[in-house]
């Protein structure tokens, strides 16, 4: 398959089940909601060492938020419910509650849930107030900016982590330009986030390493500097490779992102140095979710 002269490999992205939640952060204005969301989703590129993967899903208009203030929806993914609960608690406590004028609400409801205000309320040191509104419990924690209002819990569902595609170009600058277009095209697709800085992975990894203490290491098959030296996946003219990794609440959102992203990345075409689009997998034996590129783009 070719799009604008760019070869699309007949391969698939292999993705894994994760536990996911959405949080809605509001503040006095969009700027401060963004500050909180950026802090919460900072240092959350990969579960390999960050504890969770998190990204900003979209900004919310006042009419879309529980308290009628501007807000931001963020998605947080982790390998287990326990890990998700730990990370959400730390991040909401240290990043959202500390942001001036902020409030934090559940962004999805599910049978399963993890604590939010239920644990953070203790910061109120006995002065916290619980309020039940329309069957939902909120905590009012007195803080310097007034009160930090926080929903009791947030819903947890089975999400998917590791939807991906890899852009191979003649130069890294060309690969980056294509990936920027892909990220712009994927922005606003509900239910999915790209958790790496700017949405792009500059150093995609493989599982394991020759060193026993490393659980992941560089994916040398896609390193352009090694293409004559190791068993490379790259054509001789490849000089820059970048990956886009997508975490989503369901298969549809990841498929929608991959479709929009790959099409946008191919738009500059072969004449702009984009050679191939492929995807990362482990032979299909590790992850239950397979996203076949040809199938998605057809």
């Amino acid at each position: 398959m070719r799009i604008n002269g760019v070869t699309i490999d007949d391969t698939f992205a292999e993705a894994f089940p994760m536990r996911a939640t959405r949080l809605v952060i509001t503040a006095r204005n969009a700027k401060w909601a963004r500050h909180a969301a950026q802090a919460l989703t900072g240092f959350a590129s990969s579960v390999i060492a960050c504890g969770c993967e998190a990204g900003i899903e979209r900004e919310l208009a006042p009419a879309e938020t529980p308290d009628g203030r501007p807000g931001v929806a963020v998605l947080v993914f982790a390998m287990s419910k326990k890990q998700l609960a730990e990370q959400v608690l730390k991040r909401v406590g240290q990043s959202v509650m500390t942001t001036a004028t902020s409030a934090c609400y559940a962004g999805l409801r599910a049978d399963d849930s993890i604590p939010l205000g239920k644990s953070l309320r203790y910061f109120g040191d006995g002065h916290q107030i619980s309020k039940l509104v329309n069957g939902i419990r909120y905590w009012r924690i007195p803080v310097m900016h007034g009160e930090f209002v926080c929903e009791e819990t947030t819903g947890v569902i089975k999400g998917i982590g590791g939807g991906n595609f890899i852009v191979i170009a003649r130069t890294t600058a060309q690969a980056l330009a294509a990936c920027e277009k892909a990220i712009a095209a994927m922005r606003g697709i509900a239910g999915a986030v790209t958790t790496f800085p700017g949405g792009v992975v500059g150093s995609g990894s493989k599982v394991g390493s020759r060193y026993k203490f490393m659980i992941a290491s560089t994916n040398e098959a896609f390193c352009p500097t090694l293409k004559g030296q190791v068993r490379s996946e790259l054509p001789p003219e490849a000089g820059g490779v970048l990956e886009i990794v997508i975490d989503g609440l369901d298969q549809q959102s990841i498929r929608a992102c991959m479709r929009a992203g790959i099409r946008a990345a191919c738009r500059p075409g072969a004449k702009a140095g984009i050679l191939r689009v492929t995807a990362g997998n482990y032979g299909g034996k590790l992850g239950p979710h397979h996203f076949h590129l040809w199938d998605i783009l057809r």
Partner: protein, 275 residues
Amino acid sequence: MNPLTLTLRAQPETWLDLSPLTPDGLAGKSATAIGRVRLRTGRRSVPLRELFDVAGGDPEHIRIRGGMSRLAGIGSRMTRGTIEVQGHGGQRLGQGMRGGNVIVRGHAGDQIAAGMTGGTIHIYGDAGDFIGAGLPGATRGMSGGVVAIHGNAGARVADGMRRGLVVVSGNAGELAGSQMQAGTLVILGSAGRHPGYGMRRGTIILGGPAELLPTFRSCGQLEMDFLRLLFRQAASADARLELLRRLPATVHRYAGDSAAGGTGEVLVLSRASRR
């Protein structure tokens, strides 16, 4: 299907207990069987058809016409469906109510929503004393649900309230929210003397200044974002509470009653910022 319409034909001589007339109690009954339901009045019990004309059929929606203050216990312990009263809603309306809707197009008497745990009650008129308080002898008042009085309320509204929302669009009598244990009481008109007397926790929101007990301590003028959430969510859940959406989030906060622990609050909405 048309609502089951019960039109009061005769004036009862004394109290007439209508607590059997709920969607739960009448489910599956034919019009004839409904006519035979026995109602207590004073020391007697009489078949419903002696006092009411019965028309229509769906007991999930009961319409009572010719309501008067001698009626008692409308909607008692109901869990679902709707009861609509045209005329006075009587005494102890919605006592122990657990779910469903009661709408009164007229005034209502005392002890509305006593011991209520769920559902909604709307009174499009004035109501008497002890709205949302406890059942006789109980140590706590209503523990869930929404009561909206679209007129004025009597004394001690939300006495001992444990949970839920009571909204009075008009004025309320003295000792509103007395001994409240939690929950939210909103009085948009003026409140009588000493609102929040003996309250342990909970929130009383007042449309204007009231004569507070000295055991309430001023926390000053504040903008409270929680009120945006409360007003917006309450209005979204029930369009008939839309008036809350327009309220300001700037209040003067008083903490109290310090004679009873003092973690409750009276929030007086700022007139200046009221839109």
